[in-house]
């Protein structure tokens, strides 16, 4: 248990939050309602999943939501102005995201530049590019492609974004915890120097993780386009902080070397339940951020205290 303190902390908080919400709010026991609310979190959830291995490797990607916005704007522009079939644009989204992620990967992985600064730079660059392309306007997507979050598996509440999220969680969990590449990610995050001397291709591991983050952001762009029906340059602005909050809340060390996909999944569920609970209680979204911030700090302090005993 000592090694997984953070996961136990966030799991415990999740139980408490769920019990309190279910006791106070009758609607909370309605599964359909919970699944419906969960769509709001799926894009952030996807980003958080992809950020987990990256943060385990000791890096950070602040530009992921800017990639999401830029890819969305490019896809919608291709369809609206150049008449490219929109289905094709959606398929292009992850590829575009991968390309943008590769720029981060090159600068951080190959050139050894600090990821915090590089991704602040590319965040401004990518969102700026989206702003140049779209200006202040909203580019609509064809009605046929809207509403993917209303498509569910027959006779269940699992909607498509949720299924993609679950699939990605399984895939990344396997990658991080069951493969040789996953072990290399932990090695890089624990000590890049030691990893290099042990023959781990540090630069290439980091490069691939940034491409992964970009690809998933591109996928998120397609989902968000379908959910909102419009592409704007300021779509998903600030969500990168929500995603990082979830990853860190789930027990991933911001210094790298420690963290699990299970922790991130639990933390996302916790954030979702707290937000939904506060929302039902009539507390505005602008104030909810304070609760999430306090939760983050409380969880880290509690984990620190338990670990020291």
């Amino acid at each position: 248990m000592k090694n997984n303190v953070a996961e136990w902390v966030v799991g415990g908080l999740l139980l408490v939050a769920f019990a309190v919400s279910a006791a106070l709010v009758p609607g909370f026991r309605d599964v359909a309602y919970l699944f419906d609310r969960s769509t709001l979190l799926t894009e952030t959830g996807l980003l958080a999943l992809a950020l987990t291995p990256l943060i385990v490797a000791g890096h950070i990607d602040l530009s992921c939501t800017a990639i999401l916005a830029l890819v969305g704007v490019i896809a919608a522009t291709l369809a609206a102005r150049l008449g490219v079939p929109f289905g094709l644009c959606l398929v292009l989204c992850p590829a575009l995201g991968a390309g943008l992620g590769a720029l981060n990967g090159y600068l951080v992985g190959r050139r050894g530049l600090p990821s915090l600064v590089v991704t602040i730079g590319t965040m401004a660059l990518f969102r700026g590019a989206a702003q140049i392309l779209a200006g202040d306007s909203s580019i609509s997507v064809p009605a046929a492609f809207q509403g993917i979050h209303h498509l569910t598996l027959p006779k269940t509440y699992f909607h498509v974004p949720m299924l993609i999220y679950l699939f990605l969680a399984l895939a990344l969990g396997t990658l991080l915890h069951k493969t040789a590449f996953g072990r290399k990610i932990y090695a890089v995050g624990t000590s890049p120097e030691a990893a290099r001397y042990s023959g781990v291709p540090v630069g290439s591991v980091v490069f691939r993780l940034f491409v992964l983050s970009g690809t998933v952001a591109g996928l998120g762009a397609a989902l968000l386009l379908s959910r909102l029906g419009v592409a704007r340059y300021d779509n998903a602005r600030g969500w990168e902080l929500d995603a990082i909050t979830a990853v860190v809340l789930g027990g991933t060390s911001i210094f790298g070397g420690r963290g699990t996909i299970v922790g991130t999944v639990l933390a996302l569920a916790l954030v979702g339940i707290v937000q939904t609970g506060l929302g039902v209680a009539g507390i505005k979204a602008e104030v909810q951020v304070a609760a999430i911030g306090a939760l983050l700090i409380f969880a880290i302090l509690l984990g620190n205290a338990l670990r020291r005993r």
């Binding site: 050139r111 602040i120 730079g121 990518f126 700026g128 902080l241 304070a290 700090i297 302090l301």
Partner: protein
């Protein structure tokens, strides 16, 4: 003048030369004034952020501190219009210092990583800003008229050189003396250069870290009232949003290394000035405002690439060979 300030000055001179050559209107009083007005707000926050990054930390809550301190002060001024404005400035700074002390306590005593602690307080301070204002803005007519004059009038009669610029220069001077001439300043450089060595050397690592965040918060708090002076209106949804990234960008462009221990006050000031000049240059060249963000991004990337190249060259001259 070190390796860093000179290239920045050259870049700034080139920028001014090229833009002024294309569009002589760039040198008009109005444009110079808008550059000068743009910089102080950024500079007082950047000076505090600089000492945090110097010690391998980062404070992503500065925009939220600016918002909460600025909103708190604006509300007090709305309800007590006769309050002395200097007291109001002190109040804003003190509010910021208290909020910074919370960050400092979490990082120095709670051992929460800096980026995580300040990410958490960012949310808390933003939420509080919204709570204390009830989601409503404080409008220009509700604030004392004297406040705006800080940004409009100056010691030399003409409004070219407003008071806020003087204030930023005084802050920069004080910071320069603190960092280069006092024990506290040397401690911060030592802490950033090698935290373990600093601790083994018997330097007060914990208290230095704590006061570092207090100082950073105080700068952001002061910027809160400067924001109210500059823009007139204080809106809880827009005040200081994303400002932390602009500040970190200015600090990094100014040559402060996120690996700790490297950076200077003149460099940071030049970083702020460069961002401000780009901002005004774009509008003078009638480049759409939509290009601004992308240009900032490109400048940040160029600055880190430049740092990397000069660090490699230095290593080559020191070791006589290419490492890595």
């Amino acid at each position: 003048m070190t390796r860093r300030e000179l290239p920045l000055l050259v870049a700034l001179a080139l920028l001014v030369g090229v833009v002024g050559g294309i569009q002589p209107r760039f040198f008009s009083l109005d444009n110079l004034k808008s550059i000068l007005l743009w910089v102080p707000l950024l500079a007082v926050v950047a000076l505090g952020q600089m000492t945090v990054i110097l010690t391998r930390g980062v404070d992503v809550s500065v925009g939220a501190i600016l918002a909460l301190a600025g909103m708190g002060t604006a509300l007090v001024l709305r309800d007590h219009p006769n309050l002395n404005l200097f007291l109001a400035a002190l109040l804003s700074t003190a509010l910021g210092a208290v909020l910074g002390a919370v960050n400092g306590g979490l990082v120095a005593l709670g051992r929460v990583p800096a980026i995580v602690a300040t990410l958490g307080t960012l949310g808390i301070y933003r939420g509080l800003t919204f709570l204390i204002s009830g989601g409503r803005q404080v409008s220009e007519y509700e604030l004392p008229r004297g406040l705006a004059s800080w940004s409009n009038e100056g010691p030399f009669g003409q409004n070219l050189f407003p008071w806020v610029v003087l204030l930023a220069l005084v802050c920069a001077g004080a910071m320069q003396v603190f960092l280069t001439r006092t024990r506290g300043g040397r401690t911060l450089y030592a802490l950033g250069g090698n935290p373990d060595a600093a601790a083994w050397h018997g330097l007060p690592v914990r208290s230095a870290t704590f006061w570092n965040y207090v100082l950073c918060g105080a700068g952001a708090g002061l910027a809160g009232i400067l924001y109210a002076s500059r823009y007139g209106t204080v809106n809880p949804a827009t005040i200081g949003t994303g400002f932390e990234l602009l500040v970190i960008a200015a600090v990094v462009i100014g040559g402060v290394s996120v690996f700790g221990g490297v950076g200077s006050v003149p460099g940071v000031l030049l970083g702020c000035l460069l961002l401000g000049t780009i901002n005004v240059a774009l509008s003078v060249l009638s480049i759409a405002a939509t290009w601004q963000l992308a240009v900032y991004g490109a400048v940040i990337l160029l600055a880190v690439l430049f740092d990397d190249l000069s660090a490699r060259r230095l290593r080559r001259t020191l070791t006589g060979e290419e490492t890595l």
